[in-house]
Symmetry: C2
Subunit: 211 residues, 2 copies
């Protein structure tokens, strides 16, 4: 696993270079069906209650099939997360402005934080259940994609800060367990976190020029 | 566990309010002896290799004593971390300038990041071995003390940012697994992280007045 290379393209690969080879069509359909069942169960009963048994039952396949496909429950939760991430990644990489490529980089940076906050709030129990260990955290493909995206936007915006460190700082302020802590234990409204994001982006960018 | 209250004092309690009651003198000596043995073993063989057996052997007590005192290996690593933290906390709460209270808050903020980076680099394997789960991360006493300290210094420096969120942002840039990732996997020199810290502090504070 390597960190994203610096580049100037606006399109990023959705899958990291060490992703497994694509599945055969029937296997891919099978996998999609299992993930749909898992997503439905997670939405109805919470991600903490998604079990391999329950998915096998809901998708009407043997439990062995679920284990062969995902390895274990952690693998399944990560796959489910990837499934949610794909839709979200499409929004910020090729969707409409202000998240997508039609908006200027400064606007896209400002839009990114609130979009992540809302996306993670919608799937908070899933993100928490799938939290990687501290050792693995920075290698998770979804995180690498976000970091690459922020690095690119920061570079395009002409920040005077160390681009890679600034991208980590921005991403750190959206960390799932931090957001969970602030919303749930500290009782902060989401709007306060959004305002904090906008303030941080402004401090990392040079003053806006209105021309 | 609650987050630190806002206050204007420069002295912070070393132990959180829900800390266990103090030990009897002989029990405290016993505990200190076990921690010294554990620290020696960690320094010689790495924290990953500190076992309950090895500590019992090095301190010449029964294994049962070590388990009674620390619960399990995770409890022992946390206690060992606390032991290292106490010395570090004394440095930034009551030590000499620029870390300690004799320096102005802006200087103390600038000094804090490099001090944490160097302290954690010296004990990196211990900090990594004792990494709490994502769920617990924000409740660890050492983290709460650092957050309180940064919140206080930010408030004293008159930042225009949301003080609590800015403190989390600063602390996030010193996160053990992030620092480990940047130093080890990305091969960044420590000096680059220190420069990133100074830049971030400057961006969070109002421009310095030279009077």
């Amino acid at each position: 696993m390597t960190t994203p290379p610096p580049h100037g393209r606006t399109e990023l690969p959705l899958t990291p270079t060490d992703a497994p080879p694509p599945l055969r069509a029937d296997a891919a359909r099978n996998r999609a069906r299992l993930l749909e069942a898992a997503a439905r169960l997670a939405a109805e009963h919470g991600a903490a209650n998604v079990t391999m048994d329950a998915i096998a039952c809901a998708a009407d396949v043997g439990k062995g099939t679920v284990f062969r496909r995902f390895g274990d429950r952690a693998g399944l939760l990560l796959a489910l997360l990837d499934h949610q991430e794909e839709r979200f990644q499409a929004a910020f990489m090729s969707g409409p402005a202000p998240l997508g490529p039609d908006a200027p980089p400064r606007e896209r940076l400002h839009a990114f934080g609130p979009a992540v906050l809302r996306h993670e709030q919608d799937h908070l129990d899933l993100y928490l259940a799938a939290q990687p260990t501290a050792e693995r955290r920075h290698l998770v493909p979804a995180r690498v994609v976000r970091l690459t995206h922020l690095t690119l936007l920061l570079r395009q915006s002409g920040t005077g800060a160390d681009v890679e460190l600034a991208a980590h700082t921005l991403l750190g302020s959206l960390d799932t367990s931090l957001v969970h802590h602030l919303l749930t234990r500290r009782g902060m409204p989401l709007e306060r976190l959004e305002a904090g994001w906008h303030d941080l982006v402004s401090r990392l960018l040079p003053p806006a020029t209105h021309d």
